[in-house]
């Protein structure tokens, strides 16, 4: 690894122990893939999952972070001001809220922007094509590489923090054009994609991620009328069932005008066809519930866009959720504000929904509920997969199916 004079000064500790630790971690990280230099990072995205002692150690002596823009991921639902309304234990909420506020108290003065969202691109951290980003948040990374054409690796949150502090990341893997071409070619067939719901796209992405593991993916057969929200739900589960960091969608995403260009004019390492059979198989693997009772219905993994919120308000207008159901609707404070100005949040709240902001619903701390639940309905393939592993039975379905379930209190499919 060749460091510039300034980077050597960081490495030698001239800018304090935090900066030194951060660049040392990045050097070790780069050495794993034989990176020979550091690249300048335009955008970082970090989380608050780490313990405060570790964050404090990383930021020791750091006056201001060196990356031009760094945003912050959402925290635990219990840490937000909605924890009690969600039915979580008072003491747990207090503890989490205190920890979150201490961590933000550490980060914000150094220049981190507390958007508290897993979709930083929806709230001002928009990676430009070709620019370098260092983000945590597997689904954000996949979107930034694939949909925005920016360049970044599956940097874990600690790597993103180190990059935010130093302003650099090892120049390796997906930062280099030759490593961005597709390795797995997926041809879609016999699927009525024009009528695909968000949950359909999620189930499809879930299947593809499982096959791809950490290969770069090229998908051929998605209509170019696909919406941003559909692409978000399509790519989000790929790094859940696998470790996908880039998925080119032919005719849609910037580095995939044609199959050939997306593959770098080479033969793919692997080519598969995905049709109704694989789609159904994936759907069934996500729907793990065996009973029709609905206890929780939630939306917002990834955080809801303004259009998804408008759709929820349309489906809930004049309706009321069943008393037995808890309805959680998760987005960012910024998108909430727009939705409120349009009357959407009033409709959702009048229907009995709880508008949760700044929180991660995927990692909802079920064991901390005062009245425990065992099953939940969602349109998110990513959350379905994580929560099933945490022992929750999942009813997986379209936005409309989930809303119907919330209203009648039973799963109708």
């Amino acid at each position: 690894m060749n460091l510039t004079d300034e980077q050597k000064r960081m490495y030698d500790g001239e800018y304090g122990p935090g900066m030194q630790k951060a660049i040392s971690m990045l050097v070790e990280y780069g050495n794993v893939w034989d990176a020979d230099r550091m690249a300048r990072v335009n955008s970082a995205h970090v989380a608050l999952w780490s313990e405060i002692e570790w964050l404090a150690e990383m930021l020791e002596g750091v006056e201001q972070i060196r990356v031009p823009l760094a945003t912050v991921h959402p925290g635990n639902c219990a840490a937000s001001r909605f924890g009690r309304a969600m039915g979580l234990r008072e003491k747990f909420c207090q503890r989490e809220a205190k920890a979150l506020s201490e961590k933000l108290g550490l980060l914000v003065p150094k220049g981190f922007v507390p958007v508290l969202s897993c979709t930083p691109f929806l709230v001002g951290n928009v990676p430009t094509p070709g620019s370098v980003f260092s983000w945590g948040g597997s689904e954000g990374i996949c979107a930034a590489n694939s949909i925005f054409g920016a360049r970044g690796n599956r940097d874990a949150f600690p790597a993103a923090l180190a990059s935010a502090i130093t302003g650099v990341t090892p120049d390796m893997l997906l930062l280099k054009k030759q490593n961005r071409y597709g390795q797995l070619l997926v041809k879609l067939e016999d699927l009525d994609l024009e009528r695909f719901t968000l949950a359909d796209y999620g189930a499809l992405g879930n299947y593809i991620g499982g096959v791809a593991k950490f290969k770069n993916v090229v998908v051929d057969g998605v209509p170019n009328t696909v919406s941003f929200d559909q692409l978000k739900h399509f790519t989000a589960p790929m790094p859940t069932s696998g470790a996908v960091a880039i998925c080119h969608v032919v005719g849609v995403t910037p580095e995939a005008p044609t199959v050939e260009e997306a593959l770098g004019h080479k033969k793919p390492e692997e080519a598969i066809k995905v049709g109704k059979k694989q789609f159904r198989e994936s759907w069934e693997s996500l729907h793990t519930a065996t009973k029709d009772d609905v206890e929780v219905v939630f939306f917002g993994c990834p955080h809801l866009s303004i259009n998804e919120l408008r759709e929820l308000a349309r489906l809930l207008e004049g309706k009321k959720k069943a008393d037995s159901v808890r309805l959680f609707v998760c987005t960012t404070e910024q998108i909430y504000t727009i939705a409120k100005s349009m009357g959407c949040t009033d409709i959702i709240e009048q229907a009995g929904g709880l508008m949760v902001r700044d929180s991660c619903i995927m990692l909802f701390p079920y064991p901390e509920l005062v009245v425990p639940v065992t099953n939940a309905a969602t349109n998110s393939a990513k959350a379905a997969s994580y929560q099933a592993r945490a022992g929750i039975k999942i009813q997986y379905g379209s936005t409309e199916s989930c809303i119907n379930a919330a209203i009648i209190g039973k799963w109708g499919g």
Partner: protein
Amino acid sequence: MILKGKTIKKGKVEGEAIVSQMPFSFLGDLDVTTGKVVGSGHDLEGESIANKIFVFLTGKGSTAAPDWAYKAKRLGNAPKGMICQEVEPTLAMVAITHDIPMVHKLDQNPLEVIKTGDYIKMDATEGIVEVIKKGES
């Protein structure tokens, strides 16, 4: 048997091997409070990786894996050392951030030549893995 691989995180460590043929995520596949693997369909479901040399395919899933690995480590439930077939960036950061000696890209497939219960002496700094088969000493 001696295997030679590439360093991800330096350090010397020895212990009992536990082997999985699957990718692994420290967030989702591990109960950090017990060190046991969770999730139906995982080939180590119900088994503990705590204080063992964890041998597996590669990483997957959440980029918060190092944060969860840290929780496991604080509770004494993280693996002592790790060997994988080929690392991916998030998994590399688990080892680097929390100082868990780790190697990958061995000269033989570790998922075939190492079995659960074998004893491993690993010098990750030099990339050397000594495998003492179960029952031998």
